[in-house]
């Protein structure tokens, strides 16, 4: 087996193409161009929120609850107010008019019992809690002081009297009769009971099946852990009445809308949100947090900019956490390997409050995805979304889709073992055939395009799947048990079609926009509503524009992240930027081209049909000499002399792209592990991934994201877990107690791709950024179970710590 790593994989040609590529010739799109963001980052010159230093800045610290559930009897702030440097101590009583932070993704069609926001939405949480704390870290009070150290020091002088309440941290336990109740208005702690698919049909298929297999799964709670903790700087201008928020956000426009209209009650045009360089997010920085409102309110109160930067422990106790499902899952099939039904009952742990979009992640994003790459005649998923005394649940790289792939891919392996068939063969037999697209999966998603078999076969071939028996035997001679695990996936991406999302219960348009302004000298500025958190937008959107316009990408500047300058857009999440903002850029460039053709015809004195746009020029059809360059046209349009009335001067166009449907990238991964007989340690010795993200803008960017994504997924399988003790204290409160994969924990991977363009956008693009986080947990657990299967091991809960595996090796509970 030859490992395909590094540059070779980046430049490698697509191995499979199920649909014709866009016929147009690409000049710079699809090439692994250098990443223009990199030099600044490598020199440490990029400006993150923590690096912003406005004149007269005061510093804020937040008092988070030390207990998981309690009534607040009193808060005494006098002593803190007297301390050196302290400018203000504030509690809930200081902000009577501020509305609660809303939840804007309430799973479609369910009744919500939550205390409402004035606008009829569930009010997720107050900016500061005044009466009851519901998780460790729940924000109670803030101190603003001259320095960050003074602010933090003063927190200790705030005296809060608590009356402890009983605590519950598990979703299934929170539903049990007599469980501690989190919210008066929510009986039984049930935020939502949500279903998709056909229950009757599924139950019938399972009852009638030749074979059924069942599993009880814990998809443990994880912490996303971007390396940059969150931060916010608020700056109120008393002259104009305008607020500016600098925040580590992945959706500046969305946060502007939510904060101005739904929290602060100030005019939309009085709030400017700026996302500077953001140090990773993976879902967590798209949520609304109390601090964003607090720095603005306190800046107004004090007449100074107010800055807050979280600590790692603060992040772990307050930034949304991920996954956290307890599931009972069933698969039915025939003796000869044909899957006939899948059913999932899940208890999803929403934490103490419904986060901005957490309930939707736990339901629709997970439930509708469970059938994966397979054609399954009957499928059903039900989710109990439950409140507990834990940090609110949100998105985590691959969110929802990773949980779905985990249960399905574990089930398929279980089934394969039950019927004595090779797991790869079971998968091959059940893939949705190429001619069935668009494919309705019966759970609410309609897959746009796919060619799954060659993708899976390529992964099997590259991983040397056929040689595994020999490798297992060889490993045994070294005291190692070798195991191999497969996992495939389909990930809904390109959120999305606004109307469709409204049916899922999402408040707000989910379209994306782009503006292109061509300057008189021929340089181009592209401005997008999206905002990068490390995805090199500046490089790839320049490629899109340059490719369409036939100009040098060096001529193209890309701006984003400042709501005063950029057109509206939802931002970066769910692997949507390239397949949402990318098409917006392309379509805008086409508008520019159309105008150039019209203006060019006038300037050349020819009828419009007689001119063509090619290679960054307009010229006479059949006479390339008779033409105008891009720069000449830009200048002419800037002067605007001699244009007919139907052609406006200048070149400045905007597009709002709302796709007809989502897009559905997919892929097949193979993990090979070695389990040490003596120590129980699991080493991932080889990992092969073949992903299909449609047409790719810059393979170097996607390659990097795939590598990072896989490691993120391996982290969940092997070591990551947010653990709460019986009092609801988060034990994994810092990076000494929460393990993240380090460089020595992973080998180089073998990567390849197939290319199946999406028909739902002009680039043929599908989501890419986080898709490869979806299958690794399943692949690794499948591999370790394979390694231990002769001991009768059927399943192991993540994370696969050496201790857990060691016990199984020595005859522990199976």
């Amino acid at each position: 087996m030859t490992a395909v790593t590094g540059e070779s994989a980046v430049t490698q040609e697509a191995t499979q193409t199920s649909q014709a590529r866009t016929p147009r010739e690409h000049t710079v799109l699809g090439l692994p161009l250098d990443i223009r963001e990199d030099p600044r980052l490598l020199r440490g010159e990029a400006m993150y929120v923590g690096d912003i230093d406005l004149p007269r800045t005061a510093h804020m610290a937040i008092l988070g609850s030390p207990v998981a559930h309690a009534r607040i009897l009193s808060i005494e702030t006098k002593a803190a107010e007297q301390l050196p440097g302290v400018l203000k101590v504030a509690t809930a009583a200081d902000f009577p008019d501020v509305m609660p932070l809303p939840c804007i993704w309430i799973p479609g069609g369910v009744e919500s019992h939550f205390p409402p926001h004035p606008y009829g939405l569930p009010g997720a949480r107050p900016v500061l809690t005044g009466d009851t704390v519901r998780h460790v870290g729940d924000a109670i009070a803030v101190v603003v002081a001259e320095t960050a150290r003074q602010a933090t020091a003063a927190l200790a002088a705030i005296a809060v009297e608590y009356e402890p309440l009983p605590v519950v941290t598990r979703a299934d336990e929170a539903l049990a009769p007599g469980a501690p109740r989190l919210h008066e208005a929510v009986p039984g702690n049930l935020n939502a009971y949500w279903t998709c698919g056909d229950k009757e049909r599924t139950d019938a298929a399972i009852a009638a099946a030749e074979v059924t297999v069942e599993l009880d799964l814990v998809n443990q709670r994880t912490i996303n852990s971007p390396m940059e903790p969150r931060g916010a700087v608020g700056d109120y201008d008393a002259t104009t009445g305008e607020y500016t928020l600098y925040a580590s956000t992945q959706g500046p426009h969305n946060h502007r809308f939510l904060l101005s209209a739904l929290v602060l009650g100030i005019p939309f045009n009085k709030l400017r949100v700026i996302a500077p360089t953001v140090g990773g997010s993976f879902g967590t920085k798209g949520y609304l947090y109390p601090d964003m409102a607090l720095v603005l309110l306190l800046s107004k109160a004090l007449g100074r900019p107010v800055k807050w930067v979280d600590t790692r422990t603060g992040l772990m106790n307050s930034t949304v956490q991920g996954r956290d499902h307890r599931q009972h899952v069933t698969l039915a099939g025939t003796r000869d390997g044909r899957i006939t039904a899948v059913r999932c009952t899940s208890h999803a742990n929403l934490g103490a409050y419904p986060s901005t979009i957490g309930p939707g992640v736990a339901t629709a994003l997970m439930g509708r995805s469970i059938s994966g790459m397979y054609e399954i005649p009957a499928a059903f998923c039900e989710v109990y979304a439950v409140f507990t005394n834990t940090v609110p649940l949100g998105a985590q790289r691959g969110s929802g889709r990773a949980e779905a792939a985990f249960l399905m891919e574990r089930l398929v392996d279980r089934y394969a073992r039950e019927i004595g068939m090779d797991p790869a063969e079971v998968r091959r037999r059940n893939l949705v055939p190429k001619d069935r697209f668009p494919y309705d999966n019966g759970l609410g998603w309609t897959y746009d395009s796919g060619d799954y078999l060659p993708n899976l076969d390529r992964a099997l071939e590259l991983s040397g799947y056929a040689d595994m028996p020999a490798r297992k035997a060889e490993a045994r001679t070294r005291g190692k048990r070798l195991g191999v695990g497969l996992a495939t996936y389909v990930a809904v991406c390109g959120v999305g079609p606004s109307t469709r999302m409204s049916k899922e219960g999402m408040l707000g348009g989910t379209w994306e926009s782009a503006n292109i302004r061509v300057h008189p000298t021929g340089e181009v500025t592209v401005t997008v509503g999206s905002a990068s958190t490390g995805q090199s937008h500046g490089t790839v959107f320049a490629q899109v524009a340059a490719d369409e316009l036939g100009i040098d990408p060096e001529q193209v500047q890309v701006l984003e992240g400042d709501t005063r300058k950029a057109p509206y857009g939802q931002g970066t999440y769910g692997s949507r930027s390239y397949s949402m903002a990318g098409p917006a850029v392309a379509l805008t460039a086409r508008k520019i081209k159309d105008k150039l053709v019209k203006a060019g015809a006038v300037l050349l004195g020819l009828p419009e049909e007689q001119v063509v746009y090619a290679g960054g020029r307009v010229h006479e059809r059949g006479d390339e000499e008779n033409g105008k360059t891009f720069s000449e046209l830009a200048m002419a349009l800037w002067y605007g002399w001699g244009l007919p009335p139907e052609i406006e001067p200048a070149l400045d166009e905007t597009t709002h792209f709302d796709p007809p449907e989502f897009n559905y990238p997919f892929g097949s991964h193979v993990a090979v592990v070695e389990v040490d007989e003596l120590t129980g340690e699991t080493e991932v010795v080889a990992y092969t991934a073949v992903d299909d993200a449609g047409n790719i803008g810059n393979p170097r960017i996607v390659h990097g994201q795939i590598e990072g994504s896989i490691v993120h997924g391996l982290g969940q399988a092997l070591m990551e877990a947010a653990e709460y003790d019986e009092n609801g204290i988060l034990v994994s409160r810092d990076l000494g107690h929460y393990a993240l994969p380090r460089a020595a924990d992973v080998p180089f991977f073998t990567l390849d791709k197939t290319v199946t363009p999406s028909p739902h956008n002009p680039l043929g693009a599908k989501g890419a950024g986080e898709i490869a986080t979806v299958p690794p947990a399943a692949a690794v657990v499948n591999a370790v179970v394979d390694a231990l299967s002769d001991l009768g091991v059927r399943h192991i809960d993540m994370p696969l710590t050496p201790e857990k595996v060691w016990r199984l090796l020595r005859g522990g509970d199976r």
């Binding site: 540059e7 963001e37 230093d53």
Partner: protein, 171 residues
């Protein structure tokens, strides 16, 4: 108390409270914000600087304990907007950085590894990975960083070979 640090080749004299951490002095006192704080518990490596040539986590060093030492931060490695070092250039070519938050700490830590390797055998892949365990990265999965170090070592070995090769025998 008054103390002096030599930061990126310049003497800086100031008075610092005894409990001040070096990373606070660098970022807040001296405005050198290239050094990042990712965890404040010595786990992540985003705050790595070089103290008398050795890479250290500056969130674990008291300013007072560094008195009199040479401190090199990411700002001392290149000039603003200037040329990249061989290591930085190699990391750029391998796209070893995504969000960039871990990057300055990586460059500082890896700088020591690459400098030390000069004139010796290049570090092996396991050695590079082992060296990197002090630095967390959530974006890249480390592969591109490891390839970047390999590339940097190969480039400096080649340069060394060219310098020492007798005229007319290159290639």
């Amino acid at each position: 108390m008054d103390l002096t640090l030599h930061v990126n080749g310049r003497p800086e004299t100031f008075s610092a409270p005894p409990n001040e951490l070096l990373v606070e002095r660098l970022r807040d006192g001296l405005g050198l914000t290239g050094t990042k704080v990712g965890c404040d518990t010595g786990q992540c490596g985003t705050c790595v600087v070089r103290l008398d040539g050795k890479s250290v986590k500056s969130c674990l060093v008291l300013t007072a304990a560094a008195a009199g030492s040479e401190v090199t931060t990411i700002e001392g490695v290149t000039t603003r907007g200037g040329e990249l070092t061989g290591l930085q250039e190699a990391l750029r070519q391998e796209h070893g950085t995504q969000c960039g938050f871990c990057t300055p700490g990586m460059v500082m830590a890896l700088g020591e590894l690459v400098d030390d390797a000069e004139g010796k055998d290049a570090p092996t892949e396991p050695e590079i990975r082992e060296w990197l365990t002090g630095n967390l990265c959530r974006c890249t999965g480390y592969h591109s960083v490891v390839r970047g170090v390999q590339r940097a070592c190969a480039a400096s070995a080649q340069a060394a070979a060219q310098v020492t090769a007798p005229a007319g025998q290159e290639g």
